[in-house]
C-alpha cells in the first residue's frame, strides 16, 4: 500500500473515514505516525472525556422512547463529528461484541452507560473491561444476572461470556457454565437507580472448579480464571482481526495473540499490532456495516442526517445502534449485501448526498465530471473507480444523484 492507501485503510477500518482535508494532512504524516496518533494516551483520554450525552436528557425510565431515539442519534452525531474516532470505533466494536440490547434492557440510559464503559475501557486492560462488563447494569438486565441467585442461578450470562465474549466453543464444559453461574450470583440492578449492587444473601459463595481452576466463587475469581485460560488471547485477537483485517487466518492471528498475551492483555497494544499488520500486508476486503458506512459517508460529505430518514434507514438496513438482533451481535460480511440493506443504503445515500453542503469537496467533485477527484474526495484508497462504477457515475445526473450513487458503489461500500 502507498501512504495514501494505507492511511485511508487505517481510517476506514479503525475510524470512520476522514474528510478530504484531514486525509491529506494524515497522508503527509504517514501511516506509522497515524497509528501512533490514534493510540496516543492523551488523545484517547481526551476523546473519552468528550462524552456526547447529557444525563439530564436520559432519565432512568423504562421504555422512554424519546430518550432511546436521542441516545442513538447523539452517538451517531458524535461519531460523525469527532476528530478522535478510535475511541468510538472501539466502543462500537465492543458494543457488537459484549452485546446488550434495548429490547430487554428497556432503559436507554443504561445502554448509554454501557457504551460509556466501552468508550472509557475499550482500549485498556481486557481484564478490567471484562470485569466491568460482567457487573454492568445493562448486561445484568440483558443476560439475566439480575435475577440470578444462589438458590436458582441463571446460566444466561455464564454461558455467553464463555461462548461468545471470551473463550469460544469447545473450550469449556456444561459444568463450567453451571459453576460460573453460581459464582456470579448475588448481583442485581437497583430499579429506579440503574446501578448494580451486590447482595450477599443472594450469592452462592461455594468454591467451585471452573475452567480447571479451583476455588472460583465470585466475579473476581471468574474473571481471573478466564484471563488465565490459554484460549483467551487467540479468541480476542481473532475477533479483532476479523473486524479490522477481514481475515482470521491462524498465520495472521497467532502473532497478534502472542503480542496481546505478552502485553498482559492490553487492548491498545493488540490494536496497534493489528493495524501495523494490516498496513504491512495481510488485510482482506470487508463489507462495511450500515453504521460505519453511514458515518463515513457523513464525514466525507459533511452531511448529518436528522429526522426519521436516519433511524428508518438504519432499521431497514438492519443495523440500529443499541438494538443488535441477538446476543451474538450483528451479522457481517456478505450479509450486508442482502436486498433490504442494499435498498436502505440507497435511501440513506440519497439523503446524505442531498444534505451535503455545496462547498464540500465530494459534492463539488460530483458536480464536475472528474471522477478521480470524486474518488479522492470520498477518501477511497484506490485513485479511481472501476469500469462499471465509472460508467454509471458518468451517466448519472451531476450533483446530488451522482454523489448518492458514488456512496453506493462497491468501491465505497467495501473497505
Amino acid at each position: 500500500m502507498d501512504d495514501r492507501a494505507a492511511v485511508s485503510w487505517i481510517h476506514r477500518r479503525a475510524g470512520f473515514g476522514l474528510a478530504p482535508a484531514d486525509l491529506d494532512a494524515a497522508v503527509a504524516r504517514g501511516p506509522a505516525a497515524e497509528i501512533e496518533a490514534l493510540l496516543a494516551a492523551d488523545a484517547v483520554s481526551a476523546a473519552v472525556a468528550a462524552d456526547p450525552w447529557n444525563d439530564a436528557d436520559l432519565p432512568i425510565d423504562i421504555k422512554d422512547r424519546q430518550a432511546a431515539i436521542q441516545s442513538i442519534k447523539t452517538w451517531l452525531d458524535h461519531m460523525t463529528a469527532t476528530s478522535t474516532p478510535l475511541v468510538d470505533r472501539m466502543a462500537w466494536l465492543w458494543h457488537g461484541h459484549f452485546v446488550s440490547a434495548l429490547d430487554k434492557v428497556k432503559i436507554a440510559r443504561l445502554m448509554v452507560d454501557q457504551v460509556r464503559l466501552f468508550r472509557s475501557a475499550g482500549l485498556g486492560s481486557f481484564a478490567d473491561l471484562l470485569h466491568a462488563v460482567t457487573i454492568d447494569p445493562a448486561m445484568l438486565l440483558y443476560l439475566d444476572g439480575t435475577d440470578s441467585t444462589g438458590d436458582h442461578p441463571n446460566e444466561n450470562y455464564a454461558r455467553e461470556v464463555l461462548e461468545l465474549f471470551t473463550l469460544g466453543l469447545g473450550t469449556y464444559t456444561e459444568d463450567d457454565v453451571k459453576a460460573g453461574a453460581a459464582a456470579l450470583t448475588g448481583w442485581r440492578v437497583r430499579r429506579g437507580q440503574g446501578v448494580a449492587e451486590f447482595v450477599a444473601r443472594r450469592h452462592d459463595d461455594t468454591p467451585r472448579t471452573y475452567l480447571g481452576v479451583d476455588g472460583v466463587h465470585d466475579v473476581d475469581t471468574v474473571v481471573a480464571a478466564i484471563m488465565g485460560n490459554e484460549a483467551l488471547a487467540g479468541s480476542i485477537a481473532r475477533m479483532l482481526a476479523g473486524e479490522i483485517l477481514g481475515t482470521t487466518d491462524d498465520a495472521v492471528v497467532a502473532p497478534l495473540a502472542a503480542t496481546f498475551a505478552a502485553s498482559n492483555f492490553d487492548i491498545a497494544e493488540l490494536m496497534r499490532a493489528t493495524l501495523e499488520a494490516g498496513v504491512a500486508g495481510p488485510s482482506q476486503p470487508i463489507v462495511l456495516g450500515p453504521v460505519p458506512w453511514l458515518v463515513i459517508a457523513q464525514r466525507v460529505t459533511g452531511a448529518g442526517l436528522k429526522g426519521r430518514v436516519l433511524l428508518t434507514g438504519l432499521r431497514t438496513a438492519g443495523q440500529v445502534p443499541m438494538t443488535p438482533p441477538n446476543v451474538a451481535g450483528w451479522p457481517s460480511g456478505a450479509a450486508w449485501f442482502g436486498s433490504s440493506t442494499v435498498v436502505a443504503r440507497a435511501t440513506l445515500a440519497a439523503a446524505v448526498a442531498a444534505g451535503a453542503p455545496a462547498d464540500n469537496p465530494a459534492r463539488h467533485a460530483a458536480d464536475a465530471d472528474a471522477l478521480d477527484v470524486l474518488a479522492a474526495a470520498l477518501g477511497l484508497p484506490s485513485p479511481t473507480f472501476g469500469a462499471a462504477s465509472s460508467a454509471a457515475l458518468a451517466a448519472a445526473a451531476p450533483g446530488v444523484e451522482r454523489l448518492a450513487l458514488a456512496l453506493c458503489t462497491p468501491e465505497f461500500v467495501i473497505a
Binding site: L164, G338, I414
Partner: protein, 446 residues
C-alpha cells in the same frame, strides 16, 4: 469444513460461495455468532375454550410405524428441479430464542406440573385437543384448535437433533445446515436450483435466513417492509448502471449482483405493500423490527400474489424466556396464534390452502424445570407445528418426561424428518439437501 462463524455470520440469505465467505469480516473461528432473526410480538388477549368434538378428529399421539413406501411421487426427479413447477409455497416461521415447547403443547403428565410449580399452565386454562387425552394447548393457542379439528394441524413434540447443545448458535446452525457442518449452504438454499429466478422466489422477512443460503441464488431479505423501496433521488436506472460490466473482483461482483437482485425484489415487492403503512421514526423495544402478525400478514400476501414466492421465512425473536416467562410467553403465543389463524384464513380465501404449508421451528425447547427468575433456561427437545391442506393432522411424535436428558426433554424426532417431508412436498430432492431421506414418519400427503 465451513466454520460455524463463517456460516452463521454471513447468513442473511446472501448468495456467497465459500471463497467469498472468506472475505467476510468475521470468519474462521470456532466461536459461534449468528445473524439469526429477530423481533418479538406483543399484546395479549385471553380465552381458553376447548375444542368441541368433531367427526374429523385426528388420531392422536405417537410415532406410528414407519411407513414403508412413503416416497411421494415428486421426489426422485433429479438434483436440480425446476422449483416453481408445482406452484406450492412453504412458509417457515422461526421462533428465535428457543420456544418453551412444554408450555405450548402441554403434556398431561404429573412430572410436568411437579417441575413447574409456578409456571405450569393451570389445567383449567388448557385448550383441549379433540380426541387426545395426553396433550393440550396453551390457552392463547385456542384459535389453532380449529385447524386441529379440521385435520390440518400437526404437532411434533420432542423435535431436535441428537446430542443436543445448549448454545443458541450451535443449535440454530444445526437446524440451518441440517446438521451437515461441511456444508456452506443452508438446507433449503442448497435444494433449490439456479433456475429459481423470480426475485421473491425465496424471501426472508424480518431478518436474513441462513437456511436459505445458496451458491446458486440470493434470497430476498425484507427487514422493514414499509421502506423496501428505492429513494426518489436515486433512480433504479442509475443503480442498475453500477452492475455492468461485471467486476473481476469476486466481492465487487457479488455487490453488483446483489444490487440487481435488490432491484428485482423491490419491483416485485412493490405491489404487495400497503401504502397506508408508515414506518415512523422509531426505535423498537422488541428484538428486531418485524412482529409476528405483521410478518405473517406479509407472508400471506406473498403466498396469495402472483409474484412467484415459493419459500418464505418469517423470523421473529423474543422466545429466550429466561425470566418473566408467563407474561412474555402469553403475549408471544397470542401473536403466534392470531398470526397463523389470519394467515390460514387469507390463504383459504385465495383458494391456496392445498398449495401452502406453514411450519414453525425453534432452535430448542427449554428446561423441564423452572428457574428462580420465573423462566426457563435453554433445553433440548422442542416442538414444531405444521398447518396446511397437505398436513396429516395429529401428534406425530412423543416425549417421555420419565426419561429426561439431564433436566431436558430428550429429543425424539430428527428435524430432518420434517425437512424431508417439506422438500418432497415442494418437489425438491431431499437427498440433495440432506444426503439421504429421513422418512420414518409420514407428515404430509403427497
Amino acid at each position: 469444513m465451513f466454520s460455524r462463524r463463517q456460516f452463521i455470520h454471513i447468513g442473511a440469505g446472501a448468495a456467497v460461495t465459500a471463497a467469498l465467505a472468506a472475505c467476510s469480516s468475521k470468519t474462521g473461528s470456532s466461536t459461534a455468532d449468528v445473524t439469526a432473526g429477530t423481533s418479538e410480538p406483543s399484546t395479549g388477549a385471553p380465552s381458553s375454550g376447548a375444542s368441541p368434538a368433531s367427526s374429523s378428529a385426528p388420531t392422536s399421539t405417537a410415532v406410528t410405524a414407519p411407513p414403508v413406501s412413503s416416497a411421494p411421487d415428486t421426489t426422485t426427479v433429479s438434483s436440480v428441479i425446476s422449483p416453481s413447477t408445482n406452484g406450492r409455497t412453504l412458509v417457515i416461521v422461526q421462533l428465535n430464542g428457543g420456544n418453551d415447547a412444554l408450555n405450548t403443547l402441554v403434556p398431561a403428565d404429573g412430572r410436568y406440573r411437579d417441575a413447574r410449580p409456578t409456571l405450569a399452565i393451570p389445567e383449567a386454562d388448557l385448550v383441549a385437543l379433540t380426541g387426545v387425552a395426553d396433550w393440550s394447548l396453551h390457552p392463547k393457542l385456542a384459535p389453532l384448535a380449529t385447524y386441529w379439528d379440521a385435520g390440518t394441524a400437526a404437532f411434533l413434540p420432542g423435535i431436535g437433533f441428537g446430542d443436543p447443545d445448549h448454545s443458541h448458535f450451535v443449535s440454530l446452525d444445526r437446524w440451518w445446515r441440517a446438521d451437515d457442518l461441511s456444508a456452506s449452504t443452508g438446507w433449503l438454499g442448497r435444494s433449490v436450483g439456479a433456475d429459481s429466478t423470480a426475485p421473491l422466489y425465496a424471501t426472508a422477512l424480518g431478518s436474513g435466513a441462513p437456511l436459505l443460503r445458496s451458491d446458486a441464488f440470493q434470497a430476498a431479505v425484507v427487514i422493514q417492509p414499509d421502506s423496501f423501496a428505492f429513494p426518489v433521488g436515486l433512480s433504479e436506472d442509475a443503480l442498475r448502471g453500477l452492475t455492468t460490466p461485471v467486476s473481476a473482483d469476486q466481492l465487487h461482483a457479488l455487490a453488483q449482483r446483489s444490487m440487481l437482485d435488490a432491484i428485482g425484489a423491490v419491483d416485485a415487492f412493490a405491489g404487495l405493500l400497503d401504502p397506508a403503512a408508515d414506518a415512523g421514526d422509531d426505535v423498537s423495544y422488541r428484538e428486531g423490527g418485524l412482529d409476528l402478525i405483521q410478518g405473517l400478514d406479509l407472508a400471506a400476501r406473498l403466498v396469495t400474489s402472483n409474484v412467484g414466492a415459493r419459500i418464505v421465512v418469517v423470523s421473529v425473536g423474543g422466545f429466550d424466556t429466561h425470566s418473566n416467562q408467563l407474561a412474555t410467553h402469553d403475549a408471544l403465543l397470542d401473536d403466534l396464534a392470531k398470526g397463523i389463524d389470519a394467515f390460514m384464513q387469507k390463504v383459504a380465501a385465495a383458494g391456496a390452502s392445498d398449495k401452502t404449508l406453514l411450519v414453525t421451528t425453534s432452535e430448542f425447547g427449554r428446561r423441564v424445570g423452572e428457574n428462580a427468575s420465573g423462566g426457563f433456561d435453554h433445553g433440548a427437545g422442542g416442538l414444531s407445528m405444521m398447518f396446511g391442506g397437505a398436513v396429516i393432522g395429529g401428534i406425530h411424535s412423543e416425549i417421555d418426561l420419565g426419561d429426561q436428558l439431564d433436566g431436558d426433554v430428550r429429543p425424539t424426532l430428527d428435524p430432518r424428518t420434517m425437512y424431508t417431508a417439506c422438500l418432497d412436498w415442494l418437489g425438491l430432492d431431499p437427498v440433495v439437501a440432506l444426503g439421504q431421506r429421513y422418512d420414518d414418519v409420514t407428515l404430509l400427503t403427497a
